[in-house]
């Protein structure tokens, strides 16, 4: 679909249901007019199916496309010379993987799926068209600024909190983000992360993560079973981990 323009996309086919999370996310700051919404819906049409643990894009590559998560989870990561991995972001439906490469060119980190995913490959030319729309340009800027805010929160989390607080903080963040894009049911949402992936995101060992998760279970803060996280006492988890959702810039919600 490289040559297809927005106008052509809008002219053909029914709206893609997969655009829900993207619309919810980009309308967090302010509602968008119908033609801008239609342009976003068009971006989510015909996503590629990717298996779990597949590279979306690798460090050093110069992608022709911007990648957008339509379904599933992915992670940004850096590989260290000793083979270990630091995950620097979790990407959920509605998140752009690499919005910045249209400006920066070369990838300075890699992105891989964690689960089976549907990923939209958006040609640069289409991105240019979309960003010619001032309100969408502003919404993308908002999303990029929030990504930065999340990264700041992760630095604080990794640098200053103990393992229990850090894991709790990450759970609260993911809950608020999932809820914002309509993917949480009450205080329950899909958290398809292994202990190893949580450990790689928090600079911890998987053995220690297991210990902390068990403690959270026995404290009746959470249940985590078959990739489904239920936070039984959100207020207590928020307090215990020093979580304040302000950096996600979402209107007050629980």
């Amino acid at each position: 679909m490289d040559q297809v323009t927005i106008s052509a996309l809008l002219a053909d086919g029914p709206p893609c249901r997969g655009a829900g999370p993207l619309l919810a996310k980009l309308e967090t700051a302010s509602p968008l007019p119908d033609d801008d919404r239609a342009a976003l819906i068009a971006l989510c049409r015909d996503p590629h199916d990717l298996g779990a643990r597949r590279n979306v894009i690798r460090e050093g590559e110069r992608p022709d496309h911007v990648h957008l998560m339509v379904e599933g989870w992915a992670a940004r990561y850096k590989l260290l010379p000793d083979g270990s991995r630091q995950i620097t972001a979790f990407l959920i439906p509605g998140d752009f993987c690499d919005l910045h490469v249209t400006i920066l060119g070369q990838m300075d980190h890699s992105i891989a799926t964690l689960t089976r995913s549907r990923v939209a490959y958006i040609p640069r030319a289409t991105m240019d068209e979309v960003t010619d729309r001032p309100r969408l340009a502003r919404a993308f800027w908002w999303a990029t600024l929030v990504d930065e805010a999340v990264l700041r929160a992760w630095i604080v989390n990794i640098g200053r909190r103990d393992a229990f607080e850090a894991i709790g903080h990450l759970m609260c963040e993911l809950y608020v983000r999932m809820k914002n894009v309509g993917l949480a049911d009450g205080h329950c949402f899909e958290l398809p992360l292994t202990q190893e992936e949580l450990a790689d995101a928090l600079g911890l060992t998987p053995v220690h993560v297991n210990r902390v998760l068990q403690r959270m279970r026995s404290d009746e803060l959470i249940s985590l079973k078959a990739g489904l996280l239920t936070i039984h006492d959100y207020r207590r988890l928020e307090k215990a981990s020093g979580f304040n959702a302000n950096y996600l810039h979402i209107a007050e919600q629980r």
């Binding site: 060992t205 998987p206 220690h208 068990q214």
Partner: protein, 78 residues
């Protein structure tokens, strides 16, 4: 790769029902030691260290293949 489970026995028993795929027992031992040393740091940061706390490594379909105490992960000199 075989799957190893790392059960932490401290003031509670934390059963690992997820496990990690690792090449061999030596790799599992290294993983357990790394975990123990991290948990030791957590204890020491709170001003105590309990050397008999331990990690039991279980191999899938193999029962417990190795048990390491926190003390096993340290060389302590006066």
């Amino acid at each position: 790769m075989p799957r190893f489970f790392f059960h932490v026995i401290d003031d509670a028993v934390s059963q690992d029902d997820e496990g990690l795929d690792l090449p061999d027992l030596e790799a599992a031992r290294a993983e357990a030691l790394a975990g123990i040393r991290e948990m030791i740091c957590g204890q020491v940061n709170q001003g105590y260290l309990i050397l008999h706390h331990r990690v039991d490594i279980e191999e899938e379909n193999g029962g417990t293949v190795l048990s390491l105490t926190f003390g096993d992960a340290l060389t302590i000199e006066p």
